[in-house]
């Protein structure tokens, strides 16, 4: 199959206010490409959660999005602290967010479970002290 459309975004880890901008841009692009509202919402919510996680837990990172004929692939990678126990982190309600992050509206421990729920495939590769790479796929042909 031929290569799809690819986008690369750097996610600034210092600026909480701008977190989510890459997801907003992807959402606009998917709209322009004429994808269905349901697919657009799945991709943008999953990517937004991942983008926020990179900012609040990992000091920023980068996002690569590829849109092919039958799927959208989102790769989020950071050089943050990594996730020691991925299955624990995947549990609803588990969060290591600080009180400061909670006061900003994050830290419910719902982000990773939401990412799993909104995508058709999600793979987390993480090494403590090195960083985390999350690859999510949303199929277009339902």
């Amino acid at each position: 199959m031929s290569d799809g459309v690819k986008f690369h975004y750097d996610v600034d880890g210092e600026d909480f206010t701008s977190a989510g901008r890459a997801s907003v841009m992807v959402k606009k692009t998917l709209r322009e490409l004429g994808l269905s509202p349901e697919i657009i919402r799945k991709v943008s919510v999953a990517m937004y959660e991942g983008e926020i996680n990179m900012v609040i837990h990992a000091g920023g990172g980068c996002a690569d999005v590829e849109i092919t004929e039958n799927k959208v692939i989102i790769v989020l990678s950071d050089h943050g602290p990594g996730i020691a126990d991925v299955s624990l982190a995947m549990q609803e309600g588990y969060s290591t967010a600080s009180d400061q992050v909670r006061s900003l509206g994050f830290g419910a421990g719902m982000g990773l479970p939401n990412m799993k729920r909104y995508t058709d495939d999600m793979v987390i590769e993480s090494e403590v002290g090195k960083g985390t790479t999350i690859t999510m796929t949303v199929n277009i042909n339902a």
């Binding site: 997801s23 943008s44 509206g105 994050f106 419910a108 421990g109």
Partner: protein, 116 residues
Amino acid sequence: MKIVTIKELLSATVLCNEDCLGKHVYSASCSDMMSDVLAYQKEQAVLVTHLVNAQVVRTAEMMDMVCVVFANGKKPTPEMIELANDNEMVLMSTDLSAYESCGILFGNGLKGGHKE
């Protein structure tokens, strides 16, 4: 329920996109934790919250929400209004608490959503 009805029921002040008050909402969410909001799939929804920062508007945008009600008299920042303007999203502020606001909206027939 039309957005204008929400404004009237909650005696709210509309802060942007007055021209969108005729849009319909079919469900509502209430939380100060954005990932809780993102967990529930809703159509044409309104968000009731106490939280005031740019991520509230982005969260609502990701969920295709059409209106955010800030309870307890909280007011969005100019930057949030700008973000909402890009998306034709109505922001309003009510002096009622989130609890009272939701009670009134629910009592008038606006229901919750379901988890994806």
